[in-house]
Assembly symmetry: D2
Homo-oligomer: 291 residues x 4
């Protein structure tokens, strides 16, 4: 066995028994090829192999050369965030429905993986965001996001006033339901529902998308990703806001807090089959037909 | 006189006598500083100085070290396109209403220009687009655009079917009223009316914005500007299309023609006062107030 | 035979041989039931029955109690406009792909039609628009529209300035690519691509939708359909505009012309199977799935 | 004194001393005309007249023939909701900034009011919504709204799945941040920020506007206001939702609850100066200028 991906981690869709058959097929395939295989604890339960030991998803990356995420884009995001510090490459396998990130279908599973494990693949790097919450100039929370960081109004139906600066230069104050800062990866997720554009994954850019802004000309803004975005609140009344990083919540953000968003130092490395075609996935996911 | 901008060209708002007082002030100011001054032929008529000789706007750049465009953003675009081949830097002066490109106001005219001519300025580079129309593999038209290249349906109220490839890879076929390819400079012009995002001018990106697409998920796509965009038509019925580069028209584009859009080799060089603030202009032009 | 729809007209998709099998089935079914059958001239050619005589679509309504439109929504529109003056009821048959107006599928053809011809149907009334072009206070064109009347910029890539009044009260002047005035029927057609809302067909309302307006707060306006909408132009430069009624063109509208749009006196009467469900068609046509 | 509006109630902007001068002017004007005057308790404090007795806003309508709301549209909404059961007519006075509902400016105050009190006015009726929350078929909350009823996701950043029926007929299931049901009055408020159309106040219609829906073709739907809208949730996971009626909150709505929205029996009666012009207000509030 000559592949440089000897030790392989598998992250399955969280707690969903539907992964069992494809997981079993994948396990046997890798076993046969002589790989050392690690599973996340949840997925280990779905494999009918009592001897296998599961590992917490956050510890997988320490033991592996490659991680295979099996499920939807959400599963891939969870695996990517867990592997982020180690910059381990990831491969995405879907369960029958193409995702933006999980581009290998079950029926092509062994065929496509074989090619990748033999070294025939395209590498793609995707940036992540790093959000910090500062209270009285002390960082009280930090979190990583692959798709987006969102500042939401919270426990109030009233719009909040969000004050944004970029690299220390005042951008604007907007009354809205919140503000999304999305990566190209996130541009086809929540940001798209909120009226944001699609950012090609090869672009070194971020998009700021206001959520239902009071001022109708307050439109999405695309900026270079090499910036520091600083977000505060303009209210004088006490409010609470919520910050989310993908689907992780940082609640109870206070009116005097400051949210600082930057590109993370580490990138996600995704391995794709050599014929990977982003535009094909776009057409498929967004139901673009000829007319 | 030590400035390296000795020979200065002036391009005024096309045929509009409203420029006369500010033009006269500018002319005297430059004369006093000992500059060699050239005017475009139209503007020369509005200057009460019989001795001055006008030059066709396309020839100004050959004789000048710096061009001052005076009017609205449209005047600046015309000057920029005319100066494009020579990469002469431009300065924009408005006539009382701030523009995205004409950021010096008449009341600050001499003060701001003095600073710039003394060497105190920020330089900004903006990309241009280059569009070619090919018929039977022969290039039959070529044109440069600062804001956008647009493919429109023409002499038909029916939607057209536009087939787009990027770097030779098929993107999509869309039925719509047309397709905008806009630079960051153009992102705050027609593209914004059609639902496109704002692209920060520092971003090396373009945006493709469909015009009233039949498929509602056909949303603006932001891509790196280092690409070749190829646009054809999917119709079988004979149609005519119109291609515009800013406001220059290339009519009678045929169904078998191919439109190829690339970033132009040359960049526009804009000189700004040192306290230039793009976000301030954005807030002002889009009427963003606190809420 | 007791049905009150004795004489039946058939309008097929214009010049498309794909209708032949379903048309033949329909013809035989109606013949067997003893109906008097008339076809539009185009469709008559696709029927392998030399004895049948085609009639121009505009004359069908004079001879029939009911018209069956077979094709897509476009075919239905053409039949409806042709039958408008006589208020003959219409039934829509699709060719395998559900339309908003053609809601009977080929596989249910005889079954559904039998029910309708036996008197088991729901009647729905849809309004039409009537557009008149006035030059020097003389009406020089008039046309009927089922979906929408559109005022477009024409032979110019520049936005036009459209001045609108409703019942003689000034609404606004907008710079844009044009203005759509759509019926509820038209609200799911071009108007939807331009950002308009869906109007339930039971609503006595029209929607005005600007096409890519320069002012971003210029949003769709829904008004009662019992109004007179008057549209003129604010330009001083000579321009040409185009007015379309559905897909019929009235070109060469001049800057001094006035376009007056009112609800037509006559309504379209559509017969639906008794289990007709507009929301089902909406979900199907707009690809609304659970998530 | 012959006017039929003898007893007049005044509702001022909640707790804002800025109303004092205009309030004093209004009070003196009405006193001079011999009216019986009642103030809401908050406003009474701002009037330098120790003898005046304030009344709780909810009880004002019982004692008055006319209510004058002074402040912004929010103040008018509060007064309208409080007066709803008694169908007392309302007049809106702004504090210097035109509102959709408060159309009399301070500088025209006595002049315009005199006309209205002398019987020279236009009456406009605006519908309200009535929302009920049902748990296990028992109505546990009910509330009235002038602008809109909104179902929001609550204490979760994940989209919720909202299942809507109209008059008992299933409309759709949508994953989104929530759903707005707005009156024509509310169509220029939150609904507009969320992408809804403007509904002319004379229209007997409501608009359903999804908040950032996952499915991009899930667009605003305008329906007759004589319907019963029933909203439930499609989730299987336990979620909490929030229902708001204008800015009044009904939190802790459960996944099994049903929200039923209908037009309220009572209408709001607004009295306007005879030259009242809705389109003028629209142009002013939405910053529609000529271009």
């Amino acid at each position: 066995m000559l592949t440089h991906f000897h030790r392989i981690g598998i992250v399955g869709k969280f707690g969903d028994p539907v992964i069992a058959p494809t997981l079993t097929e994948l396990y046997r395939f890798l076993l046969q090829r002589g790989h050392e295989i690690w599973l996340d604890s949840q997925s280990a339960d779905f494999l009918d192999t009592p001897s296998i030991n599961g590992l917490h998803i956050d510890r997988l990356a320490e033991h592996c050369d490659l991680i295979i995420a099996m499920g939807g884009d959400g599963t891939f995001l969870a695996a990517a965030r867990a592997a982020a510090d180690h910059e381990i490459p990831l491969v995405g396998v879907n369960l029958g429905r193409l995702g933006f990130l999980v581009d290998i279908s079950p029926e092509q599973l062994t065929n496509r993986l074989e090619q990748i494990l033999e070294g025939h693949y395209k590498t793609e790097s995707r940036c992540m965001l790093h959000a910090s919450i500062f209270r009285d100039n002390v960082e009280i929370h930090r979190q990583t996001a692959v798709n987006e960081v969102v500042v939401h109004r919270w426990v109030t139906p009233s719009m909040i006033e969000i004050v944004t600066s970029i690299n220390g230069v005042y951008l604007n104050s907007q009354r809205s339901d919140g503000l999304i800062v999305a990566t190209p990866t996130g541009s086809t997720a929540y940001s798209l529902s909120a009226g944001g554009p699609i950012l090609h994954p090869g672009l070194s850019a971020l998009v700021l998308v206001p959520l239902n802004p009071h001022t109708l000309s307050n439109r999405p803004l695309v900026i270079d990703d090499n910036v520091e975005i600083s977000i505060g609140f303009g209210q004088t009344r006490q409010i609470n806001a919520l910050v989310t990083c993908d689907h992780l919540e940082i609640p109870d953000v206070l009116i005097g807090d400051k949210i600082v968003i930057k590109k993370a130092d580490k990138m996600i490395k995704i391995l794709h089959p050599e014929d990977h075609d982003y535009f094909h996935i776009l057409r498929s996911k967004l139901n673009w037909s000829v007319g």
